[in-house]
Symmetry: C2
Subunit: 441 residues, 2 copies
């Protein structure tokens, strides 16, 4: 049976150093993944692009980097302690535990997916299990020490709303943006890095006058959609899916998902929600603190409404990887190319000595490499013959290969090969930086 696209991508990710199963030498940790040298750069580039576009290049945004550990009352206020649960059912026979809504069978008569015995929901009704990962802070493991790994970065923003407002002398509308890890004890993680228990989020909470919320919501839906487009994703595989009123969370006034057509189907990359004043109201109530905003122009005090564009870094990385993957027939062989956008490609340039045993060639190649490294992410590679090196660089998405050969010693020129067109040009070494700058910046 031929490999599926997902299998090919998972295999490339491991073989080329994008993504490894976490703790693989110990058999892995279910649905946990480590980003290798290439994956770490891809994620860095994604996060940098996001941060630049939403924080550095806007006048209405502040950055934040809040801790993963938060005061437990946070989760009382946010509703996670009570409501962030899955209904689980135990199989009396094999003692395994399953999500009630994932059991096959009709009515209250279900079938255990593991041992196939009957599970009668009237006898063993589903029980609610919280999806937050719990830990104990301090020396004593008792109830008073229970703390949670945050299940979303958003609450770190809400509890800091007044601190940011005051320290940065802000007026509405303005937003707070944050990138960071979150944790959810998913019962059924899967689809490679798409759904994992540890994941990275990029979230914005954008605070507005209540009467402006609807129009800001529309703006953010458009802006976020355009961000994915601007990084070169195939528009045919990107869509907006507004939530029906029946699927809206109780606190949300409106929500739209940005979805990508993965090999496993249309799936959410990011959600943009109009959360009203739910979060600030809850935190004000539980903390007893005044979280209102005084609007000088209108001479009134109110809780701002919040528009929340909330994206997954790992999901975006996976979407761009899947989207960039292509196979071409070249000279009766298959060429695998990762056609990543120039902003996202882990390495921009590879410098390759055609003959690694010729010291004059190696010397020039290394000098070119270290010169270019001041400006771009550039790698020197002499670990195989040139044809193989080209294929490897194609597979990891490197935009240009610069090859130093015997002729370079005479004409001070190098061959620059374009990843996508495979066309080669001879470029003077002292014009190389300018040539690449024109292409890459």
């Amino acid at each position: 049976m031929s490999e599926t696209t997902m299998e090919k991508i998972v295999s490339l990710c491991k073989r080329r150093g994008f993504i490894f199963p976490s703790s693989e030498i110990y058999g892995g940790l279910a649905s946990t993944w480590d980003y290798g040298p290439l994956g770490a750069e891809l994620k860095r580039n994604l996060k940098e692009s996001w941060w630049k576009s939403v924080v550095h290049q806007r006048e209405d945004m502040e950055g934040l980097d809040a801790a993963i550990l938060m005061h437990p009352h946070t989760w009382k206020a946010s509703g996670h302690l009570e409501g962030f649960t899955d209904a689980l059912v135990d199989c009396k026979n094999c003692k395994k535990r399953f999500r009630a809504d994932h059991l096959p069978g009709e009515g209250s008569k279900k079938k255990c997916p593991e041992c196939k015995s009957v599970i009668d929901l009237d006898e063993t009704p589903p029980r609610l299990f919280n999806l937050m990962l719990k830990t104990y802070l301090g020396p004593v493991e008792d109830e008073s020490a229970v703390t949670y790994m945050r299940p979303e970065t958003a609450q770190g923003i809400f509890v800091n709303f007044v601190n940011v407002l005051n320290s940065r002398h802000r007026k509405l509308p303005f937003g707070i943006a944050q990138i960071g890890k979150s944790f959810r004890n998913e019962i059924t993680p899967g689809n490679f890095t798409f759904r994992t228990r540890e994941f990275e989020q990029m979230e914005i909470e954008y605070f507005v006058k209540p009467e402006d919320a609807a129009s800001w919501y529309e703006r953010w839906v458009q802006e976020r959609f355009q961000w994915y487009e601007s990084l070169g994703i195939n528009k045919e595989k990107l869509r907006l899916r507004p939530h029906g009123s029946d699927e809206l969370a109780h606190y949300a006034k409106a929500c739209t998902d940005i979805e990508y057509l993965f090999p496993f189907g249309w799936s959410e990359l990011e959600g943009i929600a109009n959360r009203g004043d739910f979060d600030l109201k809850q935190h004000a109530q539980v903390s007893g603190k005044d979280l209102t905003y005084f609007d000088q122009a209108q001479n009134r005090r109110y809780l701002p409404y919040v528009i929340e564009p909330s994206g997954g870094v790992d999901r975006a990385a996976l979407a761009f990887l899947v989207d960039a993957y292509r196979e071409e027939e070249v000279n009766e062989a298959t060429r695998v190319v990762l056609g990543l956008n120039k902003e996202l490609a882990p390495f921009k340039v590879a410098v390759l000595p055609l003959l690694k045993k010729k010291p004059e060639i190696v010397e020039i190649a290394k000098k070119i490499c270290s010169g270019l490294q001041k400006k771009f992410v550039v790698k020197y590679d002499d670990t195989a013959a040139i044809g193989k090196l080209y294929r490897r660089q194609d597979e990891i998405g490197t935009l240009y290969c610069v090859t130093v050969d015997v002729q370079s010693l005479e004409d001070n020129k190098v061959t620059v090969r374009d990843r996508d067109t495979m066309q080669q040009e001879r470029i003077e070494i002292n014009l190389l930086e300018k040539y690449l700058t024109d292409k890459l910046v």
Copy 2:
């Protein structure tokens, strides 16, 4: 009583948006801190400088971004499950728990720091408590589900050694570098962000031939020391402290700390250790996997030795903050300046309209700002009068203030003020980007 330097810095950090107590509206979470808009940028700049210098601008390094959650066997192999403990003692009277080595008193007769009653160590001997934060993965909270939040990023590197080696076709010597969060259930955290339960590390594991370990150890000690110097820290307050043989960890063959003279004394920023082959040997043994390296040139197979430069991002950020803080008397008032190096300063330039009610001035200022934002982190600020704005920008370390005034409308020039000298220059608007590029890049 006058404020101490640390009190002043903690106060500035909150007032200006560098660092807030975590979950402050709920009374905070002991020794946990959130980085505000300015702190988030400072940390970003620090991490970026580190990553560029150790990953992008070297040929012998790979990056990695491993998960916080790891297979529990990792901690068996690393020794953390058995050995990463503090000896704690319960006070029978007040039921509080303390570190045995922190109790006042002589011999086995100690005094409870809380209720002052006698603690007899013969009666209530100290017990060992593990410092790893524990959690449960999956639906059942039992022993088989126990997982730990990593107490160091290093082990994520060791378990991926072979994956990185193979996917990147590496030969010794080469290193793997990683930045990420770690967690330790410290019984006595403190000194602001210096010792916290959640912290960020920047760690390198550099793999070498055993016979080259001593010389690479010396090189890394020097290189890492120079990195702190290169970012402008006061050399008088930076020192190397080699560990005596009595304080070496059992696996370390040598270790040197890079220490900074904080207001609370000389304290460790980074440790550089020669760990021998301890870690790979342990992981090979516990996993049953072959983690040896085949040296083609020598035609032999061996476990590499490892040099580990391990630094704290939060500690470095605090050191640079403390080091940059200065007070000057200017016109009989105190000017507070954060003299951060140009690479670390959160904002490079502030653009200030002298009269915010004059639309022509605002228009020019905003245009200048958005133009410069393509290249630098630049903020527009009109939230106070010019004198106050200058002082605020000084306090957050902004390198240049660009002021647009009425005269700008006529001569197309702006006033550029230098943070450190306070000198002002009139610069033509269309030469401004070049002027700032010369200063900043």
